[in-house]
């Protein structure tokens, strides 16, 4: 049962015609063609919505790396979205508009924050780990509120998107969408390489049985810490993208409910599955969007749906596609 929640560990390759492969392929095709649809139908909202889906999917991919493969349930992952976003916003306000500076700074600061949080939280386990990651995220949240120069509670408008020397114009919505799409695919590929590498096997081994890993000679702490930092850096990039998309940052970006949303996306799509986070992000954000049109209380319907998935479908939607059910 535990194992079936992590279908990717199965050594056997799947048939190309398996429903899971076909549907994942179809989803990627739809995402690839979406700007075309938006152009032909004049529905620019769809493009905006899906750009957001792709960006948050990168965040969920990052969370899946530590949570799905590493068993580290971070309940403060939105902090990285905030740090990445604020890095872009603050630099923009201070006159540093180049994305070649902003983005690496967003990634580096997120990685550094992950290093500090990880170094402390990874010494604990289970619910304590969750609480420490949450506590740090809340701290960053209140730090952002205290940043009067950068809008405090009200947030900060970003007047110019990150500049890439005129080569890439992020104001072009279609281009920006494809950039996000490319970065998402790259991050999924990165995770695919990592989890099957020596490093990735150590991480998965530590999730499965940390005590045994130490007994066979692995200092698991440092591997988990590095994994935590990689995930933080990746989510920091998502934060930089998000700030560019909305042209606005505020502490709300890293409210704890945002961290919860990311967990829901990762779980809904399927923990420990490569495309699960993307599937989860699409499903979650479309459900949220759709439900908010028909009812004032979308959570009232969203909640039970998530509950059913959690109870009945181990491995999330991706696990369902792969034909795995709980029990």
């Amino acid at each position: 049962m535990t194992a079936s929640a992590h279908p990717s560990l199965d050594a056997r390759p799947e048939s190309l015609l398996a429903p899971r492969t076909v549907l994942t392929g179809a989803l990627l095709a739809v995402l690839a063609l979406l700007p075309l649809y938006a152009m032909l139908s004049g529905n620019s909202f769809a493009l905006t919505l899906f750009t957001r889906v792709l960006i948050l999917a990168i965040g969920a991919v990052s969370l899946n790396l530590i949570m799905g493969y590493g068993g580290m349930v971070s309940f403060g992952h939105a902090a990285y979205l905030g740090i990445g976003g604020y890095a872009v916003g603050i630099l923009a306000k201070e006159g540093v508009g180049s994305g070649l500076v902003q983005w690496p700074v967003a990634i580096a600061v997120s990685a550094l924050y992950a290093l500090v949080v990880g170094a402390l939280s990874l010494r604990t386990r289970g619910v304590y780990f969750i609480m420490i990651t949450l506590a740090f995220a809340q701290m960053i949240y209140y730090v952002a509120i205290g940043l009067d120069r950068y809008g405090g509670d009200d947030g900060l408008t970003i007047y110019r998107r990150s500049q890439f020397g005129g080569v890439i114009d992020l104001n072009n919505k279609t281009l920006f969408y494809y950039l996000c799409f490319a970065l998402l695919l790259a991050s999924i590929y990165l995770v695919a390489r990592i989890v099957n590498s020596r490093f990735g096997l150590v991480i998965q081994g530590a999730r499965s049985n940390d005590r045994r890993m130490r007994a066979i000679g692995f200092p698991t702490f440092r591997y988990k810490l590095v994994c935590f930092v990689i995930a933080g850096a990746l989510c920091g990039l998502a934060g930089a993208l998000l700030a560019n998309q909305t042209n606005f940052i505020s502490p709300a970006l890293m409210h704890w409910t945002r961290s919860g949303d990311l967990i829901v996306m990762a779980v809904l799509g399927g923990l420990g599955s490569l495309f699960g986070p993307l599937i989860g992000a699409v499903a979650f954000l479309l459900l949220e969007e759709g439900l908010s049109r028909v009812t004032e209380y979308p959570d009232l319907i969203l909640g039970p749906i998530l509950l059913l998935v959690a109870i009945y479908v181990h491995g999330g939607i991706d696990g369902l596609l792969a034909g795995r059910r709980n029990g």
Binding site: T2, A3, H6, L9, D10, A11, R193, I194, N196, S197, R198, F199, G200, L201, V202, Q204, G205, S208, N209, R211, R212, M213, R214, A215, I216, G217, F218, P219, T220, Y223, V226
Partner: protein, 258 residues
């Protein structure tokens, strides 16, 4: 190599008023199979914990090949060549048998900060892993996820993992636990093949297995060593008969006592 591979000096561990290890001193020579026996609560598992590094002693010293390892963390001891198997099968679920052993091999092939190459395609890891599986008779199960293995096979896999690191000292914590008579006999046969090439510290309840394998025995009662010597001496020791072997007769042949 030193005259003694493992040297334990006055090792003491207290949990409140309970003293599961009370000034234990013991030498283990290279190549010997040394069994530790004793009734329930004698402190056998505590001793394994102290030796593997999961527990820290209040007093005493442990030297491994002349080096003081008393304060070393678990993974460092493993890297020095001190491998252990677990009483309760402790493996990596979701992985295949080969994956499990390959991970144990990987632990002794330098650091694992390698992020790109597919580790399941590395001969450097897979070949020794398969060799260890073959050694315990599990080669045919290599590609199978461990959830599908029988209890006996999992016990063999435990040994394969410990062996794959080519340890200088193997700590076996009740390798026969939960095995049927036939599987036990197989395990004894397998461990016998290791004799001479690997130094083994064996903790076991199955007396038949112990006397079949051990060169020397140490009897532990309430955290103290009450006797130590070759199998004949121990068999003849009156104190031992009273404290342990006699009790075992009442409990039934080869009985498993938690």
């Amino acid at each position: 190599m030193a005259e003694t591979l493992l040297q334990i000096e006055g090792l003491t561990k207290r949990f409140g008023g309970v003293v599961p290890a009370d000034a234990i001193s013991l030498d283990i020579a290279p190549g010997e199979v040394h069994a530790i026996i004793g009734p329930n609560g004698a402190g056998k598992t505590t001793l394994i914990g102290l030796l593997s590094g999961e527990l820290a002693p209040q007093q005493g010293r442990i030297r491994f090949d002349g080096e003081d390892i008393t304060r070393l963390p678990v993974y460092r001891r493993s890297q020095l060549g001190l491998a252990r198997s677990f009483q309760i099968t402790s493996l990596f679920r979701g992985f295949t048998a080969l994956d499990n052993v390959a991970l144990a091999v990987q632990a002794h092939r330098g650091h694992s900060f390698r992020f790109w190459r597919d580790a399941r395609g590395e001969d450097e890891l897979r070949k020794p892993a398969l060799a260890a599986l073959t050694r315990v008779g599990l080669a045919e199960r290599a590609g199978m996820r461990i959830e599908r293995l029988s209890h006996g096979e999992l016990r063999q896999l435990e040994i394969a993992m410990a062996l794959s690191a080519q340890p200088r000292l193997l700590l076996l914590d009740e390798p026969m636990a939960g095995l049927g008579p036939e599987e036990s006999a197989q395990m004894v046969l397998m461990l016998r093949q290791l004799k001479g090439s690997t130094t083994i510290l064996l903790i076991e309840h199955d007396m038949e297995a112990v006397f079949a394998l051990a060169d020397r025995l140490t009897v532990l009662v309430y955290g103290r060593i009450i006797a130590s010597g070759d199998p004949e001496t121990i068999r003849a020791d009156a104190g031992v008969r009273q404290a342990y072997l006699g009790e075992k007769d009442g409990a039934g042949q080869g009985g498993r006592h938690g």
